[in-house]
Amino acid sequence: MMSQKGSAGYVGKRVLRVDAPAKVTGNAVYGIDIELPGMLHGATLRSPYPHADIVEIDTSAALKAPGVRAVVTGKDFPCYFGDMVRDQPFLAVDRVRFVGDPVAAVAAETEAQALEALEKIRVKYRELPAVFDPREAMAEGAPLIHPDFEKYTRNIPASMVPHTNICVSRKFSLGDVEKGFAEADEIFEDSFSAQALSHVTMEPHTAIAQFTPLDGHYTVWSPSDRPQRLHKELADALGLAHTRIRFIVPYVGGSYGGKNTLRAEAIAVALARFTHGRPVKVVFSRAEALTATQTRLAAFMKLTTGVRKDGTFTARRAEIVWDNGAYISNAPGVANRGVLTILGPYRIPNLDLVSRLVYTNKETTGSYRGFGTTQVTWACEVQMDIIAAKLGIDPLTIRLKNAYVEGDAYINGQIMRDVRVKETIEKAGREIKLEKDSTSPSPTRRRGKGIATMLKSTATPTDSFCAIKVDMDGGVTVFSSSSEIGAGEQTMMAQIAADAVGVPLSAVSVPNPDTAITPYDHGVSSSRTTYHMGNCVQQAGRDVRKRLLGIAAEVLATDPERLSLFEGNIIETGVGQRMTLKELLSKKFNNKSGAIFGEGHFTPAGNPVLEAREGLKGISSIFWMFATHAAEVEVDTETGVVKVLNVAAAHDIGRAINPVGCEQQIEGSVILGISNTLFEEFKMENGRILNDSLSDYKLATMEDLPKIVSIFVEAEPDREALAVVKGIGEPAAAATAPAIANAIYNAVGVRIKDLPITPDKVLAALREKDNQKGR
């Protein structure tokens, strides 16, 4: 199939990114770069309290301030949004629920004027008791954050615990856990936590909205990773027909799961409703992006695992409390996906998995590169190391012993295909030379190695649509709603389209999405795009190619079966090149103009691979991602400072569509992983985030870069690329943290179970260990 005639074989090649020229010259237009005629600038007044009733808002002085064209509050625009639960007001109505909750917004001629007018808005609050720790928020008598929860519109099954802050409670059981524990030789019980994290897209959240009063249309310029879903979210929130809303997507300055709901969009839309047709631009400050958009869910995880002496698992009980924050974004999805993978890529016959998602008076949470797997992999893989150490089994062997193999059943009974987890373990281990101890440069600079493995599913089933247009000059345009968030989406689509249509890569153009033009796509999330949109583009490409060859057969008076398209040339079997695509279409359209369209719709729905036990098909995945990271670190035993020296990252990717792109994803995730593990955390005081700038919310820089080796584990070469390809965006983000923690243990013998691993924690653990030795 892959070797079908016409394919020049761009798929699988190290091609240069199609968006790179625009990006290295400064020509690429991002959300923050857009300017429109008559454009106003918006700014947001935010709550200084974590939980309070709004008694009164006086905007009269702000309305009279220089340059001000509109001031809006929740009373003026009492609408709510939320993809899963519609619980979040565009601007607070009556009540604020976290420090940073938007209370009012101003549109003015300049950004400075809008900011200055904010100072003139007077708000009277009545403070309410607040709760910040989800474990406390679950307790009886905790302040109730959404007393009206049951009245909200929901798109997820109701599973909240009435009269509590537990908004989603889920339980999954397999086999008989008690029986499993009874069969175990050792039972391990450990608690772990993973912290909230900011996505820190270098482009802060931004949006421009325009409302045209006469026809009631909203146009929103929004750098989002899933414009069609935002489109729907907004249509639902405002009760508008989809045709009245249009999302135009520019280049996106990073997303990582952080630009998939209405943030700056909500403020811009509310303001635009009152500016008489003038567009309003809202650019969040870095402090707003850090404190008032969304974060990774913090998770508190308790793992009880039964193991036989030989290292075989008999049972696991896992209880996770997830911190949802003040409003529900897509945290229920994250919590669910997370808890169902806390078993790692291992066969554990008996499971009890309990997950509770709890409202707190904090920034909203949601998807973050990894979608729940970064938290649970941390717990699963550090405990794996604890188990291995106690049983005296080496970390590689215990993983290989329990790892899924081809044809194993996932916990819902889905038979897993294309399972290459063991190869990832073996290859990462070999690359880092796990069997060989590190050489430490001095007694106070200790080196060690560690390994961690993960599995991740993708959202299934989800849909991708696209269209392909071939213009008279042979140019090919792909209409897709998959945003270029930086992960190489456009390049991947261009490669696949070029092969499927039979034109040079340079003939293909992939414009940024526009929901009025580009068809529905579930969104760039869940590492789904290359597989879903990739197959969709291939379908559309083949569709249009068939049409083109049909035209060619007419023009050349021959059988279409004898024709093929190669690099933009019409080839006839046994004859050779007959004409170029351009010549063909010039003839077809009489030298005027015209275009030929092809279409694609891809969904894995109905694929027999997804078969599972009754009622559990919903957690099947069309492909399973596996990865193993092995790290070598150096620990300064006097300061507790950890430096990551080497990371070997082996990924079961099925097939690399663009190997350079895969390396970018893996290397990028490793750096993200190091940053998340060693540096990042929010420091809070009474619900207020203290480190609301990048000088105090630390990210890894180039100076923290270790040597990273990316290893691809691929399917048999004769299988078609798009049938075997898996995602790569998220799995790489999960395994780095536990690999580092396990390497630290290997280096200095201390276990850190709570992220992040900061020098003071390492030093305290080292002291504790010395004290115990001394006793």
Partner: protein
Amino acid sequence: MIRLKAFSYFEPASLKEASEILTQHKGEAYPLAGGTDLLVRMKREAIRPAALVNLKRIRELNGIQSEKDGGMRIGALTTIADIENSTVVHTSHPVLAQAAGVLGAQPLRNLATIGGNIGRASPASDMAPSLMVLQARVATEGASGPGEREIDKVFAGPGSTTLSDGEIMTAFYFPAMAPATGAAYLKMGRRSGGGDCALVGVAALLTLGSGEARAVRIAMSSVGPTPRRANKAEAVILSGTITEERMRDAARVAAEEAAPITDMRCSASYRKEIIKVLTFRALQEANQKAQGGQAT
């Protein structure tokens, strides 16, 4: 995004003029040097100056010169990058280049100035400890004419100096380093690179003579309201021959005499641990350099 609030702006051509404008505004006007700290605090609304007085056009404030006696003069508006890369500094007072090389990220060092760093009087100043161990003198110009004071007498508290309204730092004088002297500045931030705000910074200077310290100075930042000397730790070093044990003792004493706070960056107790480690390592490095025979 955040924007600066309005202010009036002055660009005096002479020190006298600058000093007059600053005096007239009675604390409402701020001198603008590199701007890397001032503009950040203005954007974050920690301060809201009515006026900024840009000192960059005053030529005499810029430049690095070696003095005849082996000393060195650095104009207050000299950038940190120029100090980091100056052959004069590397030859005569290299510890200053070492400190300059870890102050913020490189692009910031192209803007930030030594006068700005000292005038800001941040408890976490990266330059102050080195100036202290080098016994720098600060030249000023103000309403009452030129003045001079020791660096130890400059800091009054977090963010405040002993300078009066309208008094401007013009230059820093560094006396020649004695033979067989070594000095080092070490800091710890949160990340690998030098760009971070110091959790702790320690400078140490040692002058050797027959196995003993003839002079020692240790200064620390991020250990209290102002950068400060560790006098008791210095006394430990002077109490006998220089051994690893004595340096560790001194480091322990330095940690004891420091009074760091707990803030969002780290805890007081961790800071104390780091003071101990960095003081020892800085002494060790200074000692090695001093043994190298030259003032390095």
